[in-house]
Structure formats: C-alpha cells, structure tokens
Symmetry: C2
Amino acid sequence: MPARTGRPPKISRADIVSAAHRIIDAEGIHGLTMRRLAREVGTTAMALYHHVRDKDELLRLLLDEYAAGIELSDVPGGDPVERVVSAATAMRAALVGSPWIVEVLRADDLLSVHALWFPETIIDGLVGAGLEPEEAVDAYRIIWHYTAGEISARAAAARRRDRGGPTYRGQVFAGLDPDETPRLAALGERWEELTARDTYDKGVRALVRGLVTGP
Amino acid sequence: MPARTGRPPKISRADIVSAAHRIIDAEGIHGLTMRRLAREVGTTAMALYHHVRDKDELLRLLLDEYAAGIELSDVPGGDPVERVVSAATAMRAALVGSPWIVEVLRADDLLSVHALWFPETIIDGLVGAGLEPEEAVDAYRIIWHYTAGEISARAAAARRRDRGGPTYRGQVFAGLDPDETPRLAALGERWEELTARDTYDKGVRALVRGLVTGP
DNA sequence: GTTGTTTTTTATACATGTATAGAAAGTAGC
DNA sequence: GCTACTTTCTATACATGTATAAAAAACAAC
C-alpha cells in the first residue's frame, strides 16, 4: 500500500518544525529565517519549501505545537459572563508572550487545532448567557478582534520602545491646538503615562457585558 | 540666517511624498517600493533615506496627508453613546480602505496629526457619558484596539481570499471532536458563512455600552 | 585658488522570502 | 539492465528594505 516512489526524502515536516522550535528557543523568533532553519536541518532553504508551503505555514505549524502545550486554566463555573472573561483572558495570556503568532492568525480567528478550547469555551459561555448560537459566534469574533488588536498594539509598542527614537506621539502633542482638540490638550503630558496602562481586562469585561445585554 | 551650506538637495520630502501618492494611486500600496519611488522621483533609493528615516516614516507621512483629506462626518448631538459610536465608525471607515495604515499605526493609537478629530471626539463623548478623563482615555484605547484588530483581520482575510489556497479553518473543522468541542461541531459548515459577516457595528456598540455603564 | 567642512547623492553590499529550472535518487514496466 | 516516471533536493536568481563607504557639490577661511 505505501509503495513509495520518487527520490526518498532526507527531511520531514517534523524535522523542520522541531528545528524551528530549537531556533526560536535559542535565538527568538527573530532568528528564524528560512536559511538559518535549513542550516539547522542540514539542507538548503529551498528544500524546505517541499514540506511547507511558505513561512506562514511553518509558523502555523509552530503555533499548533505551541498551542498543544498550553495549560488550560480552570474557568469558574458560575456566572457565564465571568466564564467568558476568564477564557478570553486565558487566550490572551497564551498569546501575549508570542505576539508573532497573532500576525499569523489574524484572519484565522480559530487559532489552532489544538487551541479550540478557547473559542469553544467562549462561545459556550455566551450561549449560557442567553445568546443564540449565531450571535455567540459574532460575539466571539468581536472578542477575538479586540484581543488580537490589543496584543498587536502591545507588541508594536514594545518594538518601538526597543528601537528608541522619537515617538510619533511627541510630535502629535507638540503641534496641538487647544481650540480644536481641548480634551487631548488638557491631557497633554499625561498621555504617555495613561497609555502605558494595561487595559485588556477592563476592555474585555466591558465588551462581554455589552454583548450579553441587549441593545 | 538661512546660510545653507553643503551640497544642494535635488529632492525634498514633499517631492517624495507626492511621488509616493502618485504611485499608490496608480499601482496600489503594493507598488510602493523604495526603488520604484526613487525612480519616480528621479534619484536613487538610498537618496530617499536622507529625507525619511525609513519606509515606516514615509507611510506615516502619507497617512498624514491622507488624514488631512478625510471628511469629518457630522456626529449627532444628542446621546453621548451614539456620538462615540458614530465617531468610531467614521474612524474605521476612514481606515478600512487603506489597511496598510493600520500596520503603521498600531502602537500609535493617536492616528495622525491631522486625524486627531477622532480621538478627541470619542474621548469627549465618553466624558459626556460620565467617565472621568482618565477612564475616557482607557476607553478610547480599548475602542482603538478593537478597531485596529477588526481592520487588520479583515485585511488579512481579504489577502488570503485573493491568494486562494485551502483555508486553515477547513483543516480545523475536518479534525473536530464533537465531544471536546460540541459548540464548534454543531456550527460546523456554517462557520465560514457566519464569520463572513461584518460585525464591527455590533461590536463597537456593545463595547461603548459596556464601557459607559459601570461594572 | 587651495583646503577644509557640511550636506546630499551614489555605489555597492547584504539578508530575506521565494520563484524557476534542472539535477539526483529512487520505483515500475519491460 | 534500460527506459520512463515521480519525488525530492540543489543551484541560481530576483525583488525588497536598508547599512556602509565613498564621491560630489556647494560654501567658508585663508
């Protein structure tokens, strides 16, 4: 039945993925290039492309491995709203350490095959709170958009901080007209400080509350 | 006082930005490369780097020009919640046509110098709804994260659709265990259809409602 | 005018993802 | 064993953003 034909492969998808894992652990996501990966596997860059469609697919495979290792935190049984908030917070916690994952996902709001626990739990909680299944899907996607946006913004801010350089905000606040934008002008210097806060929890609570209470 | 010294410049920032604008109009954001831009301006790629720090700065300059041309829609006077929703919707409408802008912004939740009307109006509306200014800033950022996430996901989905190829979702739903994820299994085929819906309005309404009503 | 200084431009180079073409290494039919 | 076919791998090439070094073009001091 196997009856393999053709030149026998020297490397496998699994080899690639585990080598990629090693590189990321040792050098961070930044060190993961196709050529570097090829060297680690002991082949050429283009040979990798016979096993993965492109780098994005490779990242998705990594995500999947990673997701399989996520500790699913226990979610409180009682209030459905609280369950949804907990699950969303756990989802965010799982992703926030590897923001590159969010770049890969984005369109794929389902995360990974091994991370379906998150949408499942959130949707279940939303149905428990009284939403129709279709509405719960909408609500889940809304929560996902918020979560992805927050992680992405957080990662971008961290990158900028690393690279230094003048923030764009400074420029914005320098040329600020108090007549046109009184609220912003009043905030002034405090903007930097205020926008350093972690608002995820606040946001997800408001969002879930707003979603489960009708208009 | 001017007393310019040094080799006289052949090109200016303004030249660069307007040439970039021309390219984007004619060929889309995809056609905007540093070399293509240099050709349009009549110089070399590296010469551009004496006028802009990097491509991101160039994109920010473009955004700023673009923002200056945005029609500020009138926002209803009455209900503060409705004002915030309108302003957020206008912000999203302004950005959704050029999703690359969101990639540039992300960390810079203030948009552009010429688009401060959006945060100003939103924060003002939130204060009008009873929030303290600090809370209103938090709330604005939360709304921004949601908006950026939604646009980003939408753009990624469109890109994927263009390129074709099997969706990751298909793979996810293929190997789905109804015991572990009953809600998702029940949805099954409908996922694709359900997730094609535009949920921005629903989300932003829920979010603002949740934000202005205390916990 | 020669020499130095400053600013801008050019030339060259590199790492990256990935396309394309062809070589290599196996099996199957005869 | 020879030919055809299939799969995998290798070599080469390209476009991209951008670093670095050198050259060019102006002015100022003497």
